[in-house]
């Protein structure tokens, strides 16, 4: 196959499929082991400084904030983050000092809420390095390749653009059509967090609502940490096998954390907590403010239960349930400024 062009971006999270097969053989097993543990145990056991990290969900949607806060508490360093619509998750991780490098599809932004000061400041000052660019679809299929155990996935994006020029992809002459086609290098992240509504103690997960990239991302992951709203019995899983989106044998840790995706949206359970996200957007405009926010909400709380109490407890979560179900009006500090 003739290579026509190749991106200049750093290749992140790629493994020779044979090497990855060997890694799986040595480190994974379908044994029915009770994988329940605390979040501090899961993070200290499976997240290492310098790891390539992928967060499940979608930046503000169903993100394991229990995992994010714990990585900050444990002062994990120099993580390379796969920035596929990594927005609030990436921003807070950067603010917490955990991030060294980023491969960017969509980062440093908060969709309708505006741009993120914290992440931008880190990149503009050189504290955090963008090592390559890609598109959201590109990340999606890097994970698909990782899940499939193949070295690359062909696609018809990025061609002709500077996004390609700064990516780690290659353009080759397609042996079937003779036309140029883009090859995305597969990706097997070192560690991935996915937050789910329910799973059993073995890690068999049900997910409600859109899956985003989590089907492929979970299967591409080397270490997979599941945080869950609740643990259900294995019999419940076996009664409804079509509901299983992540099978337990690929999971390394199961952590029960009610409201563990707060302040992001958990389908059917709670809407975005715009008050807390808004406070972050305002305070993270300076380094001092960022530190204060992290001190108050992360270092100032011993665990997620304490954090939920601090943000308003059950009353707040009931309100967010009502907003999610169109029963209460959305309030957001950033919204008051729109004219």
């Amino acid at each position: 196959m003739k290579v026509i062009d190749q991106g200049e971006g750093e290749l992140v999270g790629w493994h020779d499929p044979d090497e990855n097969r060997e890694w799986i053989r040595k480190n994974k097993s379908p044994a029915l082991v009770d994988k329940r543990m605390s979040i501090d145990e899961a993070v200290s056991k499976f997240v290492k400084d310098g790891d390539v990290l992928g967060m499940g969900g979608f930046g503000h949607i169903r993100v394991s904030f229990a995992g994010i806060y714990e990585m900050i508490r444990q002062k994990k360093k120099n993580l390379t983050v796969l920035g596929k619509t990594a927005v609030h998750d990436m921003d807070v991780l950067i603010g917490g000092g955990c991030v060294g490098k980023v491969e960017v599809a969509y980062s440093f932004g908060h969709e309708l809420r505006g741009l993120s000061s914290c992440g931008r400041r880190a990149v503009e000052s050189g504290r955090v390095k963008v090592v390559s660019e890609i598109s959201n679809g590109g990340f999606q299929w890097r994970y698909l390749g990782g899940m499939m155990g193949v070295p690359f996935v062909p696609c018809r994006m990025m061609q002709g653009s500077d996004t390609f020029r700064k990516s780690s992809a290659k353009i080759v002459e397609d042996p079937f059509t003779g036309k140029p086609i883009c090859l995305l290098p597969s990706c097997n992240p070192d560690v991935v967090f996915v937050h789910v509504p329910r799973c059993d103690k073995f890690g068999n997960c049900q997910i409600d609502g859109i899956l985003i990239e989590d089907f492929e991302l979970a299967r591409a992951a080397r270490r997979l940490i599941i945080t869950t709203e609740e643990i259900i019995d294995n019999e419940e899983i076996r009664k409804d096998p079509d509901q299983t989106k992540i099978p337990g044998f690929i999971v390394d840790a199961v952590v029960e954390v009610k409201y563990g995706a707060h302040p992001t949206l958990m389908p059917d359970k709670y809407y975005f907590d715009e008050e807390i996200i808004g406070e972050w957007l305002i305070m993270s405009k300076t380094d001092e403010g960022t530190e204060k926010w992290i001190d108050k909400y992360v270092h100032g709380t011993a665990n997620f239960e304490e954090y939920i109490k601090l943000i308003g407890g059950e009353a707040k979560m009931k309100y967010l349930y009502d907003v999610e179900h169109y029963k209460a009006e959305l309030k957001a500090p950033w919204l008051d400024k729109k004219k």
């Binding site: 969509y106 440093f108 696609c155 004219k339």
Partner: protein, 260 residues
Amino acid sequence: MSKTEKPHYTQTHLMAVAAARVLENNKSVFVGTGLPMIASMYAQRTHAPNLLIIFEAGAVGPQMRMLPISVGDSRTTYRAIAASSMHDNMSFAQAGWLDYGFLGGAQIDKFGNLNTTYIGGTWDRPKVRLPGSGGANDVGSNCRHTIIIMRQEAQNFVDKVTFITTPGYLDGPGARERAGLPAGSGPIKVISQLGVYGFDEKTKMMKLESTHPGVTIEQIVANTSFKLIIPDKVPQTPPPTKQDVALLRELDPTGMAIGK
């Protein structure tokens, strides 16, 4: 319009309705955050009830009742036909199922190439770092026709963007196909607060299609840093009616995208 008379609509209302008018019934559209959502919801409630809306995070065919904040928001699956995945929806676009796609940008050039990656400095050390492609490159590469909505100023309607995050017609006719992008795809409209633009069939360069009420050709030229194709006769963009504005407010009651 005299200077003292305040119109019943804003520039944002006009842009939303102008974008909605491009969308036809029984067609499909790939939708991003903000005005594209409002435009698609408006189209569905008016002239295009069977407009198939697709979101990158997984929603397929919703009939939304309230503006979502994010393309992954639960509001994107309201009365949807499926809550699926990014793999599914990006595949639909790449395989050719999507008639339209919406895009925005911080910078655009005469060929409709868009920059949402950085402004000033270098890529390694940008003066202003922007979010990057997100799903935009996928939409711009693979949807049949793209519609671009963005603010227009001389600084961001430029001859050449500093970074092509998302391909328009690249460097001219045939360039997309030569790069391997799907044949016949590319941007068809640019909607700004000043006017509506299309692309010349032969040169693939941006051309003025209509000016918004109260906007002069001189203003358009002053806010464009490249040589725009301007036909002899340029019609006026029809303004939104009072009913249009009422509907936009119903869809976005808190004014997230259309303002208060």
